[in-house]
């Protein structure tokens, strides 16, 4: 497995291929590096985090290569923060559950958002693990090559607990 690019995003530091490129939060990163995708503001926090990571990693990669790529992401908390927010909207006696919020109570929507933005049609999976079990994650990534031949895989950890505790550790790998 060869790593082409990697990124780490935490609340106070974003490191792309070894260089600290920003100290902004997620919204700040959007304004600094993306800026042209208003749908970003409709996403929940987990999607925003995964989306920003993918934008920075996929810069400069052409559409043809992306078409047959795969997206395989992992985390611990699933979509818990959005689950909680949605739960509140159905617990209230005078309740108006939000359809837009419900959509994001699925953690795998983050792989979908990245696929929609980049027109990626290959495998997309989302796994919930107890911790960042590198052996298991590598097994799952290696296995993808058994049954399909993606041009590259966008993979890694993307977990959002709250605005002070989040982490994306994503990379692009080839066989």
């Amino acid at each position: 497995m060869k790593t082409i690019a990697e990124i780490s995003i935490t609340p106070n530091r974003t490191i792309l291929n070894g260089d600290t490129i920003s100290t902004a939060n997620i919204a700040g990163l959007y304004r600094e590096f993306v800026g042209d995708y208003p749908k970003f503001f409709k996403m929940d926090s987990l999607c925003k985090l995964g989306f920003i990571g993918s934008e920075l990693l996929l810069k400069g990669i052409n559409a043809e290569e992306k078409e047959n790529a795969a997206i395989i992401l992992f985390n611990r908390n699933g979509s818990l923060i959005t689950d909680r927010n949605y739960q509140k909207t159905i617990t209230d006696d005078n309740y108006f559950p939000s359809p837009a919020l419900f959509v994001y109570t699925l953690a795998n929507i983050v792989t979908g958002e990245i696929a929609i933005r980049n027109k990626i049609y290959g495998e997309s999976s989302f796994y919930v693990l107890n911790n960042q079990d590198m052996d298991l994650m590598n097994d799952i990534i290696n296995n993808t090559y058994l049954t399909s031949s993606p041009t590259f895989i966008l993979t890694g950890w993307v977990d959002f607990d709250d605005e002070h505790n989040y982490e994306a550790k994503l990379k692009l790998v080839t066989k």
């Binding site: 689950d83 699925l106 049609y121 495998e123 999976s125 049954t147």
Partner: protein, 405 residues
């Protein structure tokens, strides 16, 4: 690399009953499991659902389990189905120790959370109720199911919405092909909750009558619940154990529709790619497919786009197809494995499940299986599972013949 993945066991619980035999009888008699809500505590009793008939207390007694499992419906159903799968495959405890257990779920322990959430939220301090919320964790419910069945070398959870169980099966097959394990028990479990009943209701895709997949006038889903697991095994291991082979998982694929968070693209690109790639892996041509167990949720969008994808591949004549969701309800994350077990029953017993509730075609020639009792020689079955997020997966099950096995 291991080439073939055998299916040597199956277990199921759904609105159609407990176990493979009860499920088979319900399918053959044409009796739907969909009815009024009895167990779920919700004000939305206007929606028919496919509930498992047993209460949590009844399942707990059946399994002889106590706290905390006795209040975790996803776990209770999961244990019942997983135990049946292991028993039907005649696996020994020592054989499980080197096996993988993979379960798909999105709801996890949400039903329990719903019973404690308001107290926790209102009191705003740590209480006994807040302790109960830890069971919400999807991964934790998988661990509880696995621990009740045996010791495994690897336990994990897939969460790709309504294709979760299908993707658990795909992961299990990949682990076998790569030689990491010889045996994988894979599937999914999902209980009905207020959370997703309300969610699907806000998306305005629940039908207040029994659902009518592939019918011109369909208006949406009936939600269901249940669990199912299949035992996947390498050829070498199955032969060494002298295991009975229920079928071969001959092909599979996972693709992304890359169109919208919840809606499918008009020409069903993701579904088309999933079916094509799975047939490529199985080295089958479209003419080899005898039956498609469609995702067929009964929503206007799913059925139209799934049909569009099918008609792109079979532009001459569609194979026999049906959705069994009018029998079971849409069991969301468990649907991939529940329908996999239904496909294996169809392969073994030579029949095609009918498409209940259907009256008029969406397009002239798109008529699903309608006969209640039919006998067919079925060799290859496509089983589709699509999830929000554009996660589209196809499994292909093929009949096992001793001479070519």
């Amino acid at each position: 690399m291991e080439d073939k993945v055998f299916v040597t066991g199956a277990g199921i619980i759904s609105a159609l009953g407990v176990g493979s035999e009860a499920t088979l009888q319900s399918l053959l008699s044409g009796g739907s499991g969909i009815g009024r809500i009895t167990h779920l505590e919700t004000e939305h009793d206007e929606f028919p659902v496919g509930e498992v008939a047993l209460s949590n207390a009844e399942m707990s007694r059946m399994l002889n389990v106590g706290y905390p499992i006795d209040s975790l419906r996803t776990v209770l159903m999961g244990i019942i189905a997983a135990k049946e799968a292991v028993a039907s495959s005649k696996l020994l405890p020592r054989e499980l120790r080197t096996a993988a257990f993979i379960s798909g779920t999105t709801v996890g322990g949400m039903d329990k959370t719903e019973r404690h959430f308001k107290t926790v939220f209102d009191s705003n301090t740590e209480t006994e109720d807040s302790y109960e919320l830890k069971y919400n964790d999807c991964g934790y419910s998988t661990e509880l199911i696995a621990d009740s069945v045996g010791k495994f070398s690897l336990v994990t959870t897939t969460s790709t919405a309504c294709s979760s169980a299908a993707n658990a099966i795909i992961l299990g097959a990949n682990l076998i092909k790569s030689g990491i394990v010889d045996i994988a028990i894979a599937g999914g479990s999902e209980a009905l909750t207020k959370f997703h009943l309300n969610g699907f209701n806000t998306l305005m895709i629940l039908d207040k009558d029994n659902c009518r997949p592939f019918d011109r006038d369909r208006t949406g889903i009936n939600l269901g619940e249940g669990a199912a697991y299949i035992v996947l095994e390498s050829e070498k291991s199955a032969k060494a154990r002298g295991a009975e082979v229920l079928g071969i998982l001959s092909g599979y694929a996972n693709t992304c529709d890359a169109f919208h968070q919840t809606a499918s693209s008009e020409n069903g690109e993701g579904a088309y790619l999933a079916m094509r790639k799975a047939m490529d892996m199985a080295r089958l041509s479209p003419r080899d497919i005898d039956y498609i167990n469609a995702h067929g949720t009964g929503t206007p969008n799913n059925d139209e786009t799934e049909l569009a994808a099918m008609q792109r591949i079979w532009d001459y004549e569609l194979p026999k197809f049906s959705s069994t969701k009018a029998f079971t309800g849409h069991t969301t994350s468990a649907s991939g494995s529940i329908e996999a077990v239904i496909c294996l029953l169809a392969l073994r017993h030579g029949f095609l499940p009918q498409n209940l509730g259907w009256k008029n075609p969406i397009k002239d020639d798109a008529i699903p299986v309608l006969e209640k009792c039919n006998t067919e020689n079925v060799e290859n079955i496509i089983n589709n599972s699509f999830g929000f997020g554009g996660n589209d997966s196809t499994l292909i099950f093929s009949k096992f013949h001793k001479d070519n096995g």
